[in-house]
Structures are given as structure tokens and as C-alpha cells.
């Protein structure tokens, strides 16, 4: 019963986000994006409730978001287009998602951080029916109190229904984020075949990194949808997705920064980059405002840079990187899109132009990783093995999406 109640809570989330997803003219993509937006709106609302002293309840949190969605849907008339999908591509997507889901259910891919602090925070937030600053600031606080709270709030939302946390089921909901992203990526890229590859690669990588219950799936999905929306010229979707990323993990700051450099180069102007920067800052400011309100240290506190470079780390960095970039398939998910991009660069170089916002961040992110690892004083190989598989996932996703857009094999949409 606990498991079903917890899952039921997630079923409601797309209804919360329909207000900001109504412009999408594909039903499956609209529902998928509504899930991403619904989680974001739920988090913002839950944070604001705590800031003004309203305790969380299912009705209290649901009602405003459902009314907003209802009003927008009432006013919207639409003619949906169905995006083309082939059975074989769909079969690949299903197998890939099952791989991730079953890897989590069989506890091969549940992240230790989930039981050490993500899930723990969710339990305390649900118990106090608030974003419990008292717990975060307590004498025996959990690790990583500076992490933005989108994930634990969504997990706590499930707990409002189930009362007890079904630990493995709650971790398995990480796969739902990938499920939600698939139709959105398909709609934005217009290629079910590239979407199938993206899904296979990301599912393999997320399972390899042990992403059950932690924020990696969320982060990858928000970043991927945002980046694909940039190339597809869906500015509002990209802006919303980046706000979600900023409230998921602070690593988003570096990735979005690198993407914005790509946008500036591609646009030869700063208008869109400024919009994305503003939406990202707006997202982060919700968390920072909460921190300020309750006397916490304001800001992200994740990356400690000493600015002391240990150049002797270079051989270790290059020796260990391939192992950490295996992504659950011996690095093939990197090599195949790289080969496609190389082929396009030789045969149709002009096609690469539209993929610039996705291509530019990839080397920038790797340069940042090297910059970061050059400052490590000890245990570099072990720390790379812990961190790089997770940290490199947004770059992997961007590379695949860049190849997808450059390949340009968009399938026609049907009215």
C-alpha cells in the first residue's frame, strides 16, 4: 500500500506543470515536460510555504497548481501533432529504461548519498511538513545542507501520501525522470532514432553511476531538455529547464555557464543567453532566499578551489579519465556520437552550425574537470572514479544531442 501511495503522488506531478507546458503541440511531450515543470513548481511552492509559515499538506500544495493548470487548459484550444515513432526505436527506449529501473530495484544502482542524506532529508521534511530549516541547521545536521532542495522536496511529496518511505521504490522513481524526458527530447530533436540512442546511452550511464535516489537523473534531464530546446528555438522551455537544473544540484551552474558561452557564440549576441542566465539565477534565488530567511550560509558550497595547481596530477588525470567515462558501455556512448560529428564535419560541415550551443560546452566542461582535478592534493584516482562518471553525464548528453541536431534527420510531424 505504501508503494502504491508513493507512486500515486508522482502521477499527480504532471498535472501541476500543465500550466507551463500547454504550448507544446505533442501530447506525450507535453505530459513529459509537465512532469519536469510540475516538480519545479511544487518545489518553489513548498519552499515559499515554509518561508511564510504554511505547513505542507496534500490539498494545500496541490490546489494552487491544479487551479493554474485548469485555467490555462480551459483557455487553450489545440491541435496536437503526433511525432513520428518507429516500433524498433520505441522497443530500444523501453529496454533502456527497464535496464535503469531494474538496476535500481535490484539495488545495483542505488546511490549511497540517497540513504546518507537525500532520502534522509526527505523523511525529515515530510515529517515536519516543511523545508525543515531547524533540521538543516541542527547540531547533528545531515551532509550537504547547501544542496538545493528540489529532489528531497519531490521525495517528501511522495511521503505525504505514503507516510513511510518505501526506500527502494522512492529510489526507483529516478527512472521516471528519464521516462518524462524521452518524449520531450524526441519532440525537440524530431528524431526518434537519435532519441532512442540518447535514452540507451543515458540509461546505461545513469545505471553505471548508481543514480537511483540521488539527483543525477533530474540534473541530466533538466540540462538535456534545456539544451535541446535552445537549438530547437524554444526559449521558454529552455529557460524553465535551466531554472529546474539550478534547483537540483549546484553542478548545474558550471554546465549552464558553458552552454551560455555556446549560445553567445552561436547567436553572436547576448539576448537569449541573458534570458537563460536570468531564469537560472531566478531559480537559484528561490533557494538562496530560503537560506537567507533562515540564517543559513547563502550560496552553493560544493566546489572548493584552492587555486594551487599540482601539475604532477596530469598523468593520473589522463590515465584515469577513460575508465571514469565508460558510461556503462566501455565509452561507446561517447565514441559513436563523436564519430557521427566527425563524419558530418567532413561531409556536411555547415550542418554543425546549429549544434554549436551544444558542442561548445563539451570541451569547456572537460577543461573545467582538468582545472578542478589539477587542484586535488591527494587520492586523485579514487576521487575521479567517484565523481567523474556522474559529473561528465551532462557533457555526454550534450554531445549526443549535438550529433542528433547536426545529423538533421528530423522526421515529419503529423497533424
Amino acid at each position: 500500500m505504501t508503494v502504491f501511495a508513493y507512486i500515486a503522488a508522482y502521477v499527480l506531478i504532471p498535472l501541476f506543470g500543465l500550466s507551463l507546458a500547454s504550448s507544446i503541440d505533442s501530447r506525450s511531450a507535453r505530459i513529459g515536460f509537465a512532469f519536469l515543470v510540475g516538480a519545479l513548481l511544487l518545489m518553489i511552492e513548498a519552499t515559499l510555504f515554509t518561508m511564510i509559515g504554511i505547513r505542507w499538506s496534500i490539498i494545500g500544495l496541490s490546489l494552487p497548481l491544479l487551479i493554474a493548470s485548469g485555467v490555462v487548459l480551459w483557455r487553450t484550444t489545440r491541435t496536437d501533432k503526433s511525432v513520428c515513432a518507429t516500433p524498433f526505436a520505441i522497443a530500444i527506449i523501453v529496454v533502456a529504461i527497464l535496464h535503469l529501473l531494474l538496476s535500481i530495484i535490484t539495488t545495483q544502482s542505488i546511490n549511497p548519498d540517497y540513504v546518507l542524506f537525500w532520502g534522509t532529508k526527505a523523511v525529515h521534511f515530510a515529517m515536519s511538513r516543511s523545508l525543515d530549516a531547524g533540521y538543516l541547521l541542527s547540531r547533528y545536521a545531515p551532509p550537504r545542507i547547501d544542496y538545493p532542495p528540489l529532489l528531497p522536496i519531490v521525495q517528501a511529496w511522495g511521503l505525504l501520501f505514503s507516510h513511510q518511505i518505501p526506500w527502494i521504490t522512492a529510489a526507483a522513481m529516478s527512472a521516471v525522470w528519464l521516462v518524462a524526458a524521452v518524449p520531450v527530447i524526441n519532440w525537440l530533436s524530431g528524431s526518434i532514432h537519435a532519441t532512442a540512442f540518447w535514452t540507451a546511452a543515458m540509461a546505461a550511464s545513469l545505471a553505471f553511476c548508481g543514480s537511483g535516489g540521488n539527483a543525477e537523473a533530474m540534473l541530466v534531464v533538466y540540462i538535456s531538455v534545456g539544451a535541446a530546446a535552445i537549438v530547437a528555438r524554444r526559449t521558454s522551455i529552455a529557460a524553465i529547464a535551466f531554472a529546474g537544473a539550478m534547483l537540483t544540484k549546484e553542478e548545474a551552474l558550471v554546465t549552464i555557464g558553458a552552454i551560455l558561452i555556446g549560445v553567445v557564440i552561436y547567436d553572436r549576441g547576448i539576448r537569449r543567453a541573458a534570458i537563460f542566465a536570468a531564469s537560472s539565477a531566478a531559480g537559484a534565488s528561490v533557494w538562496f532566499a530560503f537560506q537567507k530567511r533562515f540564517g543559513m550560509h547563502v550560496g552553493y558550497d560544493r566546489v572548493t578551489l584552492t587555486h594551487t595547481f599540482h601539475w604532477s596530477n596530469l598523468p593520473t588525470i589522463f590515465r584515469e579519465a577513460p575508465k571514469s567515462l565508460a558510461a556503462g558501455c566501455w565509452g561507446l556512448s561517447w565514441l559513436i556520437p563523436l564519430a557521427i560529428i566527425f563524419y558530418i564535419a567532413v561531409r556536411k560541415p555547415r550542418n554543425l552550425r546549429d549544434a554549436i550551443p551544444l558542442l561548445v560546452p563539451v570541451p569547456l566542461l572537460f577543461a573545467f574537470f582538468v582545472y578542478l582535478y589539477l587542484q586535488y592534493e591527494s587520492s586523485l584516482a579514487m576521487k575521479m572514479w567517484w565523481i567523474l562518471p556522474r559529473l561528465s553525464q551532462p557533457a555526454l548528453s550534450l554531445l549526443i544531442l549535438a550529433a542528433a541536431f547536426a545529423a538533421g534527420d528530423r522526421m515529419p510531424a503529423h497533424d
Binding site: 535490484t106 539495488t107 542524506f117 518511505i165 528524431s191 532512442a196 540512442f197 545529423a407
Partner: protein
């Protein structure tokens, strides 16, 4: 290019296929005893102990954790925060540092490893992975 993507996806999925082949050869499919059962055996052992001890610690009471090393105590305490959210914690060790009082304020002492109760908590209940000891006067 469409075929390239599909063939590429199939090639990528050989990675998971090999992973599952290896997993199914070495593991039986059964309900996991903890969320990290097949990935983090040490955390799984901590979890099973804490979960086994949980029914003996009533909500609203207080607990501390004793374990062979400060690292054990630190990780057990962080894990316990989710399972014992409705119980007041008095950790003997927090973030690898011994705490003032050593958890002596707690009513329940969760002893991980060899089931040996402290002298001031003589009432012992053996559980998987250790014991729960109860202080008469916390």
C-alpha cells in the same frame, strides 16, 4: 543516419547486457534486504542492523550508536537519521569526531558488531548485526 542511431543504440545496450549477465550469474533475484544490498555491502550491513533494531526503539525516545570505529559510528549515524527520524539522536561520534557526553543522554544504545552493552545499559536485545541496550536512567 537513422540506421546509424539504431545500430549505435543496440551497440550501447550491449554494455547493460553484459552487466546483467554478470549480475545474474553471481546473484539470486530476491527482495533486497537494504537499498544498497548489491552495490555497497558495508552500508547494507549497517542498514540491516539499524532496520532490525528499529522496532525496539519507540518513537519520541532517544538513541545513540556504538560501533567498533569512528567511521562506523559516523556512517551509522547518518544512515539512522532516515530510519530514526522520530527519535532524538545523541551520537557518540558525529562527522568522525567524538561528541561531548558520548551519547550518555540516550535511553537506547544501538551497539553495532559484538553485542556488548555498556555497564549503564544492562538490558540487552540481540538483533541482526548487534544489539539494542536500554538504559534504566538516561
Amino acid at each position: 543516419m537513422r540506421r546509424v542511431w539504431i545500430v549505435g543504440a543496440l551497440i550501447v545496450l550491449t554494455g547493460p547486457l553484459v552487466t546483467w549477465g554478470s549480475f545474474l550469474r553471481t546473484h539470486r533475484l530476491e527482495v533486497p534486504g537494504s537499498p544498497t544490498e548489491n552495490d555497497q555491502p558495508q552500508l547494507a550491513a549497517y542498514w540491516r542492523f539499524l532496520a532490525a533494531a528499529r522496532p525496539l526503539v519507540p518513537r519520541g525516545s532517544s538513541y545513540t550508536i556504538k560501533a567498533p570505529t569512528p567511521d562506523d559510528e559516523t556512517q551509522l549515524f547518518w544512515l539512522s537519521a532516515g530510519l530514526y527520524a522520530d527519535v532524538t539522536p545523541y551520537p557518540a561520534t558525529y562527522v568522525w569526531q567524538p561528541q561531548h557526553g558520548g551519547g550518555s543522554e540516550a535511553k537506547y544504545v544501538l551497539v553495532y558488531g559484538a553485542p556488548e552493552c555498556p555497564a549503564d545499559a544492562p538490558s540487552m536485545h540481540i538483533v541482526t548485526g548487534g544489539a539494542v541496550c536500554v538504559r534504566d536512567k538516561p
